[in-house]
Symmetry: D2
Subunit: 108 residues, 4 copies
Protein backbone atom coordinates (compact mmCIF):
# COMPACT_ATOMS: atom_id res chain seq x y z
CA UNK A 1 0.00 0.00 0.00
CA UNK A 2 3.04 2.26 -0.14
CA UNK A 3 2.19 4.14 -3.33
CA UNK A 4 -1.56 4.09 -2.78
CA UNK A 5 -1.01 6.08 0.38
CA UNK A 6 0.77 8.82 -1.58
CA UNK A 7 -1.86 8.68 -4.31
CA UNK A 8 -4.53 9.39 -1.68
CA UNK A 9 -2.46 12.26 -0.35
CA UNK A 10 -2.25 13.76 -3.84
CA UNK A 11 -5.95 13.19 -4.41
CA UNK A 12 -6.85 14.95 -1.21
CA UNK A 13 -4.68 17.92 -2.08
CA UNK A 14 -5.85 18.27 -5.68
CA UNK A 15 -9.52 17.88 -4.69
CA UNK A 16 -9.68 21.61 -3.99
CA UNK A 17 -9.04 22.50 -7.65
CA UNK A 18 -11.26 22.29 -10.71
CA UNK A 19 -10.55 20.46 -12.82
CA UNK A 20 -8.95 18.22 -10.22
CA UNK A 21 -6.65 16.71 -12.85
CA UNK A 22 -5.52 17.90 -16.26
CA UNK A 23 -5.95 15.81 -19.39
CA UNK A 24 -3.53 12.89 -19.79
CA UNK A 25 -1.53 14.63 -22.53
CA UNK A 26 -1.25 17.79 -20.46
CA UNK A 27 0.04 15.84 -17.46
CA UNK A 28 2.47 14.09 -19.79
CA UNK A 29 3.79 17.44 -21.01
CA UNK A 30 4.26 18.41 -17.37
CA UNK A 31 6.14 15.15 -16.84
CA UNK A 32 8.51 16.11 -19.68
CA UNK A 33 9.07 19.44 -18.01
CA UNK A 34 9.78 17.84 -14.63
CA UNK A 35 12.11 15.16 -16.02
CA UNK A 36 13.84 17.96 -17.91
CA UNK A 37 14.49 19.78 -14.65
CA UNK A 38 15.80 16.54 -13.16
CA UNK A 39 18.12 16.16 -16.15
CA UNK A 40 19.44 19.69 -15.74
CA UNK A 41 20.18 18.91 -12.11
CA UNK A 42 22.03 15.71 -13.04
CA UNK A 43 24.15 17.70 -15.50
CA UNK A 44 24.87 20.24 -12.80
CA UNK A 45 25.86 17.63 -10.25
CA UNK A 46 27.63 15.01 -12.32
CA UNK A 47 28.19 16.62 -15.70
CA UNK A 48 29.87 19.60 -17.30
CA UNK A 49 28.22 22.27 -15.14
CA UNK A 50 29.44 21.81 -11.56
CA UNK A 51 27.69 23.17 -8.50
CA UNK A 52 28.60 23.14 -4.82
CA UNK A 53 28.40 19.80 -3.00
CA UNK A 54 26.29 21.18 -0.18
CA UNK A 55 23.16 21.75 -2.24
CA UNK A 56 23.49 18.67 -4.39
CA UNK A 57 21.53 15.83 -2.92
CA UNK A 58 18.68 17.95 -1.69
CA UNK A 59 18.01 19.44 -5.10
CA UNK A 60 18.09 16.13 -6.91
CA UNK A 61 15.55 14.72 -4.45
CA UNK A 62 13.35 17.76 -4.98
CA UNK A 63 13.22 17.18 -8.71
CA UNK A 64 12.52 13.48 -8.24
CA UNK A 65 9.63 14.22 -5.90
CA UNK A 66 8.15 16.53 -8.55
CA UNK A 67 8.36 13.72 -11.13
CA UNK A 68 6.66 11.28 -8.75
CA UNK A 69 3.92 13.83 -7.95
CA UNK A 70 3.21 14.26 -11.66
CA UNK A 71 3.03 10.49 -12.13
CA UNK A 72 0.60 10.23 -9.21
CA UNK A 73 -1.65 12.81 -10.87
CA UNK A 74 -1.71 10.78 -14.07
CA UNK A 75 -2.39 7.58 -12.14
CA UNK A 76 -5.19 9.16 -10.10
CA UNK A 77 -6.81 10.75 -13.13
CA UNK A 78 -7.06 7.30 -14.74
CA UNK A 79 -7.86 5.30 -11.57
CA UNK A 80 -4.62 3.35 -11.74
CA UNK A 81 -3.46 1.57 -8.60
CA UNK A 82 0.31 1.98 -8.68
CA UNK A 83 0.91 -0.65 -5.98
CA UNK A 84 -0.69 -3.26 -8.23
CA UNK A 85 1.43 -2.06 -11.14
CA UNK A 86 4.53 -2.08 -8.95
CA UNK A 87 4.00 -5.65 -7.76
CA UNK A 88 3.38 -6.84 -11.29
CA UNK A 89 6.55 -5.14 -12.50
CA UNK A 90 8.75 -6.50 -9.73
CA UNK A 91 7.63 -10.01 -10.57
CA UNK A 92 8.24 -9.53 -14.29
CA UNK A 93 11.50 -7.73 -13.61
CA UNK A 94 12.83 -10.59 -11.50
CA UNK A 95 12.37 -12.99 -14.36
CA UNK A 96 13.50 -10.76 -17.21
CA UNK A 97 16.70 -9.30 -15.83
CA UNK A 98 18.01 -12.28 -13.93
CA UNK A 99 19.95 -13.53 -16.98
CA UNK A 100 20.73 -10.19 -18.50
CA UNK A 101 23.38 -8.36 -16.50
CA UNK A 102 26.61 -9.37 -14.90
CA UNK A 103 26.16 -10.76 -11.41
CA UNK A 104 28.47 -10.32 -8.47
CA UNK A 105 30.97 -13.13 -8.50
CA UNK A 106 30.54 -13.97 -4.84
CA UNK A 107 26.89 -14.68 -5.53
CA UNK A 108 27.42 -16.96 -8.51
CA UNK B 1 8.12 5.59 4.95
CA UNK B 2 6.10 4.70 1.86
CA UNK B 3 8.78 5.32 -0.74
CA UNK B 4 11.68 4.19 1.44
CA UNK B 5 10.07 0.76 1.59
CA UNK B 6 10.11 0.50 -2.20
CA UNK B 7 13.64 1.88 -2.35
CA UNK B 8 14.75 -0.96 -0.05
CA UNK B 9 12.95 -3.46 -2.24
CA UNK B 10 14.81 -2.14 -5.29
CA UNK B 11 18.10 -2.14 -3.42
CA UNK B 12 17.64 -5.74 -2.36
CA UNK B 13 16.85 -6.81 -5.90
CA UNK B 14 19.69 -4.88 -7.57
CA UNK B 15 22.22 -6.06 -4.96
CA UNK B 16 22.79 -9.20 -7.00
CA UNK B 17 24.24 -7.25 -9.95
CA UNK B 18 27.59 -5.54 -10.43
CA UNK B 19 27.65 -2.67 -10.71
CA UNK B 20 24.54 -2.47 -8.56
CA UNK B 21 23.56 0.84 -10.13
CA UNK B 22 24.55 2.52 -13.39
CA UNK B 23 26.02 6.02 -13.55
CA UNK B 24 23.56 8.86 -12.99
CA UNK B 25 23.57 9.87 -16.67
CA UNK B 26 22.97 6.30 -17.75
CA UNK B 27 20.00 5.96 -15.41
CA UNK B 28 18.74 9.28 -16.73
CA UNK B 29 18.92 7.99 -20.31
CA UNK B 30 16.95 4.96 -19.15
CA UNK B 31 14.40 7.33 -17.60
CA UNK B 32 13.98 9.05 -20.98
CA UNK B 33 13.41 5.67 -22.56
CA UNK B 34 10.80 4.69 -19.95
CA UNK B 35 8.95 8.02 -20.07
CA UNK B 36 9.00 7.66 -23.86
CA UNK B 37 7.24 4.34 -23.57
CA UNK B 38 4.71 5.90 -21.23
CA UNK B 39 4.13 8.67 -23.78
CA UNK B 40 3.56 6.15 -26.55
CA UNK B 41 0.99 4.44 -24.35
CA UNK B 42 -0.80 7.73 -23.67
CA UNK B 43 -0.96 8.40 -27.40
CA UNK B 44 -2.36 4.93 -27.95
CA UNK B 45 -4.99 5.30 -25.27
CA UNK B 46 -6.03 8.93 -25.54
CA UNK B 47 -4.51 10.14 -28.77
CA UNK B 48 -4.51 9.45 -32.47
CA UNK B 49 -3.60 5.75 -32.27
CA UNK B 50 -6.48 3.94 -30.57
CA UNK B 51 -6.21 0.52 -28.91
CA UNK B 52 -8.79 -1.70 -27.28
CA UNK B 53 -10.21 -0.57 -23.91
CA UNK B 54 -9.53 -3.88 -22.22
CA UNK B 55 -5.76 -3.59 -22.23
CA UNK B 56 -5.61 0.11 -21.55
CA UNK B 57 -5.30 0.78 -17.86
CA UNK B 58 -3.05 -2.15 -17.17
CA UNK B 59 -0.48 -1.09 -19.74
CA UNK B 60 -0.37 2.50 -18.58
CA UNK B 61 0.27 1.33 -15.01
CA UNK B 62 3.03 -0.95 -16.26
CA UNK B 63 4.86 1.93 -17.90
CA UNK B 64 4.44 4.11 -14.82
CA UNK B 65 5.89 1.41 -12.59
CA UNK B 66 8.93 1.23 -14.89
CA UNK B 67 9.41 4.98 -14.55
CA UNK B 68 9.18 4.78 -10.75
CA UNK B 69 11.63 1.86 -10.66
CA UNK B 70 14.14 3.89 -12.66
CA UNK B 71 13.74 6.85 -10.33
CA UNK B 72 14.30 4.56 -7.32
CA UNK B 73 17.56 3.36 -8.88
CA UNK B 74 18.76 6.93 -9.28
CA UNK B 75 17.71 7.78 -5.71
CA UNK B 76 19.40 4.70 -4.27
CA UNK B 77 22.59 5.25 -6.24
CA UNK B 78 22.86 8.72 -4.69
CA UNK B 79 21.56 7.87 -1.20
CA UNK B 80 18.51 10.05 -1.57
CA UNK B 81 15.60 9.48 0.81
CA UNK B 82 12.55 10.03 -1.36
CA UNK B 83 10.16 10.23 1.60
CA UNK B 84 12.06 13.26 2.88
CA UNK B 85 11.96 14.80 -0.59
CA UNK B 86 8.25 13.99 -0.88
CA UNK B 87 7.37 15.64 2.44
CA UNK B 88 9.37 18.72 1.56
CA UNK B 89 7.64 18.97 -1.80
CA UNK B 90 4.13 18.56 -0.41
CA UNK B 91 4.76 21.38 2.02
CA UNK B 92 6.18 23.67 -0.68
CA UNK B 93 3.45 22.62 -3.10
CA UNK B 94 0.70 23.51 -0.63
CA UNK B 95 1.98 27.04 -0.41
CA UNK B 96 2.87 27.62 -4.05
CA UNK B 97 -0.20 26.32 -5.83
CA UNK B 98 -2.85 27.43 -3.43
CA UNK B 99 -3.28 30.75 -5.23
CA UNK B 100 -2.48 29.60 -8.71
CA UNK B 101 -5.30 27.52 -10.14
CA UNK B 102 -9.06 27.82 -10.16
CA UNK B 103 -10.68 26.37 -7.08
CA UNK B 104 -13.98 24.59 -6.88
CA UNK B 105 -16.68 27.14 -6.27
CA UNK B 106 -18.30 25.17 -3.47
CA UNK B 107 -15.02 25.39 -1.59
CA UNK B 108 -14.48 29.10 -2.02
CA UNK C 1 22.78 19.50 -47.67
CA UNK C 2 20.22 21.38 -45.58
CA UNK C 3 21.13 19.97 -42.18
CA UNK C 4 24.83 19.63 -42.91
CA UNK C 5 24.97 23.37 -43.39
CA UNK C 6 23.60 23.94 -39.90
CA UNK C 7 25.89 21.28 -38.48
CA UNK C 8 28.86 23.19 -39.88
CA UNK C 9 27.54 26.41 -38.39
CA UNK C 10 27.30 24.72 -34.97
CA UNK C 11 30.76 23.21 -35.36
CA UNK C 12 32.26 26.57 -36.20
CA UNK C 13 30.63 28.19 -33.19
CA UNK C 14 31.53 25.44 -30.70
CA UNK C 15 35.13 25.23 -31.96
CA UNK C 16 36.07 28.06 -29.61
CA UNK C 17 35.28 25.97 -26.50
CA UNK C 18 37.12 23.10 -24.90
CA UNK C 19 35.91 20.48 -24.84
CA UNK C 20 34.14 21.36 -28.06
CA UNK C 21 31.36 18.89 -27.31
CA UNK C 22 30.18 17.26 -24.10
CA UNK C 23 29.91 13.51 -23.68
CA UNK C 24 26.95 11.86 -25.42
CA UNK C 25 25.08 11.25 -22.16
CA UNK C 26 25.61 14.83 -21.08
CA UNK C 27 24.23 16.15 -24.37
CA UNK C 28 21.31 13.76 -23.97
CA UNK C 29 20.55 15.18 -20.52
CA UNK C 30 20.63 18.64 -22.09
CA UNK C 31 18.20 17.39 -24.74
CA UNK C 32 15.81 16.27 -21.97
CA UNK C 33 16.08 19.73 -20.46
CA UNK C 34 15.37 21.44 -23.80
CA UNK C 35 12.44 19.18 -24.72
CA UNK C 36 11.13 19.82 -21.21
CA UNK C 37 11.14 23.55 -21.89
CA UNK C 38 9.36 22.93 -25.18
CA UNK C 39 6.75 20.87 -23.32
CA UNK C 40 6.20 23.65 -20.81
CA UNK C 41 5.66 26.05 -23.68
CA UNK C 42 3.12 23.72 -25.32
CA UNK C 43 1.22 23.50 -22.03
CA UNK C 44 1.27 27.27 -21.79
CA UNK C 45 0.02 27.77 -25.31
CA UNK C 46 -2.41 24.91 -25.82
CA UNK C 47 -2.96 23.48 -22.36
CA UNK C 48 -4.16 24.45 -18.93
CA UNK C 49 -1.85 27.43 -18.45
CA UNK C 50 -2.78 30.09 -21.02
CA UNK C 51 -0.52 32.91 -22.15
CA UNK C 52 -1.07 35.83 -24.49
CA UNK C 53 -1.35 35.08 -28.23
CA UNK C 54 1.22 37.68 -29.22
CA UNK C 55 4.21 35.89 -27.69
CA UNK C 56 3.11 32.37 -28.58
CA UNK C 57 4.59 31.32 -31.87
CA UNK C 58 7.89 33.01 -31.30
CA UNK C 59 8.50 31.26 -28.02
CA UNK C 60 7.61 27.84 -29.33
CA UNK C 61 10.04 28.33 -32.22
CA UNK C 62 12.75 29.40 -29.78
CA UNK C 63 12.42 26.19 -27.81
CA UNK C 64 12.42 24.10 -30.98
CA UNK C 65 15.61 25.78 -32.19
CA UNK C 66 17.25 24.91 -28.86
CA UNK C 67 16.27 21.26 -29.31
CA UNK C 68 17.67 21.20 -32.84
CA UNK C 69 20.91 22.86 -31.70
CA UNK C 70 21.36 20.18 -29.03
CA UNK C 71 20.75 17.44 -31.59
CA UNK C 72 23.35 19.01 -33.90
CA UNK C 73 25.90 18.93 -31.08
CA UNK C 74 25.26 15.23 -30.55
CA UNK C 75 25.48 14.56 -34.29
CA UNK C 76 28.70 16.55 -34.67
CA UNK C 77 30.32 14.92 -31.65
CA UNK C 78 29.75 11.52 -33.26
CA UNK C 79 30.44 12.51 -36.88
CA UNK C 80 26.87 11.80 -37.96
CA UNK C 81 25.68 13.28 -41.23
CA UNK C 82 22.07 14.23 -40.53
CA UNK C 83 21.22 14.74 -44.20
CA UNK C 84 22.05 11.10 -44.86
CA UNK C 85 19.94 10.04 -41.89
CA UNK C 86 17.11 12.31 -43.04
CA UNK C 87 17.05 10.88 -46.55
CA UNK C 88 17.09 7.35 -45.24
CA UNK C 89 14.23 8.12 -42.88
CA UNK C 90 12.07 9.80 -45.51
CA UNK C 91 12.40 6.75 -47.72
CA UNK C 92 11.55 4.35 -44.90
CA UNK C 93 8.77 6.64 -43.70
CA UNK C 94 7.15 6.71 -47.10
CA UNK C 95 6.81 2.96 -47.10
CA UNK C 96 5.86 2.40 -43.47
CA UNK C 97 3.17 4.99 -42.98
CA UNK C 98 1.50 4.86 -46.35
CA UNK C 99 -0.91 2.14 -45.16
CA UNK C 100 -1.18 3.21 -41.57
CA UNK C 101 -3.21 6.38 -41.23
CA UNK C 102 -6.43 7.62 -42.73
CA UNK C 103 -5.93 9.34 -46.07
CA UNK C 104 -7.82 12.29 -47.42
CA UNK C 105 -10.84 11.05 -49.31
CA UNK C 106 -10.20 13.23 -52.31
CA UNK C 107 -6.86 11.52 -52.74
CA UNK C 108 -8.14 7.95 -52.46
CA UNK D 1 16.37 28.32 -45.94
CA UNK D 2 17.89 25.05 -44.76
CA UNK D 3 15.17 23.97 -42.35
CA UNK D 4 12.32 25.48 -44.35
CA UNK D 5 13.24 23.17 -47.18
CA UNK D 6 12.80 20.14 -44.93
CA UNK D 7 9.60 21.57 -43.49
CA UNK D 8 8.18 21.76 -47.00
CA UNK D 9 9.24 18.19 -47.66
CA UNK D 10 7.41 17.06 -44.53
CA UNK D 11 4.38 19.13 -45.43
CA UNK D 12 4.20 17.61 -48.88
CA UNK D 13 4.43 14.11 -47.49
CA UNK D 14 1.88 14.59 -44.70
CA UNK D 15 -0.57 16.33 -47.00
CA UNK D 16 -1.94 12.97 -48.02
CA UNK D 17 -3.23 12.22 -44.51
CA UNK D 18 -6.18 13.57 -42.60
CA UNK D 19 -5.70 15.14 -40.23
CA UNK D 20 -2.46 16.28 -41.76
CA UNK D 21 -0.99 16.96 -38.32
CA UNK D 22 -1.93 15.72 -34.86
CA UNK D 23 -2.70 18.06 -31.98
CA UNK D 24 0.32 19.78 -30.40
CA UNK D 25 0.17 17.64 -27.26
CA UNK D 26 -0.04 14.48 -29.32
CA UNK D 27 3.02 15.45 -31.36
CA UNK D 28 4.78 16.27 -28.10
CA UNK D 29 4.02 12.79 -26.76
CA UNK D 30 5.46 11.41 -29.98
CA UNK D 31 8.55 13.55 -29.43
CA UNK D 32 8.97 11.99 -25.97
CA UNK D 33 8.73 8.57 -27.57
CA UNK D 34 11.34 9.43 -30.21
CA UNK D 35 13.77 11.04 -27.80
CA UNK D 36 13.30 7.96 -25.61
CA UNK D 37 14.41 5.76 -28.49
CA UNK D 38 17.40 8.03 -29.04
CA UNK D 39 18.26 7.70 -25.34
CA UNK D 40 18.08 3.92 -25.52
CA UNK D 41 20.45 4.02 -28.46
CA UNK D 42 22.90 6.24 -26.58
CA UNK D 43 22.86 3.80 -23.66
CA UNK D 44 23.49 0.96 -26.09
CA UNK D 45 26.38 2.70 -27.76
CA UNK D 46 28.08 4.56 -24.94
CA UNK D 47 26.53 3.15 -21.78
CA UNK D 48 26.07 -0.08 -19.91
CA UNK D 49 24.49 -2.04 -22.77
CA UNK D 50 27.12 -2.43 -25.49
CA UNK D 51 26.35 -3.23 -29.12
CA UNK D 52 28.59 -3.87 -32.08
CA UNK D 53 30.49 -0.89 -33.54
CA UNK D 54 29.37 -1.54 -37.09
CA UNK D 55 25.73 -0.68 -36.51
CA UNK D 56 26.33 2.19 -34.15
CA UNK D 57 26.47 5.44 -36.00
CA UNK D 58 23.79 4.55 -38.47
CA UNK D 59 21.25 3.78 -35.75
CA UNK D 60 21.94 6.92 -33.79
CA UNK D 61 21.41 9.01 -36.93
CA UNK D 62 18.14 7.18 -37.59
CA UNK D 63 16.78 8.10 -34.18
CA UNK D 64 17.89 11.70 -34.57
CA UNK D 65 16.15 12.00 -37.93
CA UNK D 66 12.94 10.74 -36.30
CA UNK D 67 13.24 13.42 -33.62
CA UNK D 68 13.77 16.13 -36.25
CA UNK D 69 10.82 14.86 -38.30
CA UNK D 70 8.57 15.09 -35.25
CA UNK D 71 9.77 18.62 -34.55
CA UNK D 72 9.04 19.59 -38.17
CA UNK D 73 5.47 18.30 -37.79
CA UNK D 74 4.97 20.46 -34.70
CA UNK D 75 6.49 23.48 -36.45
CA UNK D 76 4.37 23.00 -39.57
CA UNK D 77 1.17 22.48 -37.61
CA UNK D 78 1.72 25.85 -35.95
CA UNK D 79 3.15 27.71 -38.96
CA UNK D 80 6.51 28.19 -37.35
CA UNK D 81 9.46 29.06 -39.58
CA UNK D 82 12.36 27.17 -38.06
CA UNK D 83 14.99 29.07 -40.02
CA UNK D 84 13.84 32.30 -38.38
CA UNK D 85 13.94 30.61 -34.97
CA UNK D 86 17.36 29.18 -35.75
CA UNK D 87 18.85 32.52 -36.72
CA UNK D 88 17.42 34.18 -33.65
CA UNK D 89 18.85 31.44 -31.43
CA UNK D 90 22.32 31.56 -32.98
CA UNK D 91 22.48 35.28 -32.35
CA UNK D 92 21.30 34.94 -28.76
CA UNK D 93 23.55 31.93 -28.23
CA UNK D 94 26.63 33.81 -29.37
CA UNK D 95 26.09 36.45 -26.75
CA UNK D 96 24.99 34.20 -23.87
CA UNK D 97 27.59 31.46 -23.98
CA UNK D 98 30.62 33.47 -24.95
CA UNK D 99 31.51 34.13 -21.31
CA UNK D 100 30.24 30.89 -19.85
CA UNK D 101 32.45 27.97 -20.80
CA UNK D 102 36.16 27.41 -20.89
CA UNK D 103 37.73 28.53 -24.13
CA UNK D 104 40.62 26.95 -25.93
CA UNK D 105 43.82 28.50 -24.69
CA UNK D 106 45.25 29.07 -28.14
CA UNK D 107 42.24 31.27 -28.90
CA UNK D 108 42.44 33.40 -25.78
Amino acid sequence: MALEELQREVDKWTAQFTPQYWQAHEILARLMEETGELAREVNHLYGPKKKKDSEDKRDLGDEMADVIFTLMCLANSKNINLDDAWKKMMEKCCKRDSERYKKREDLV
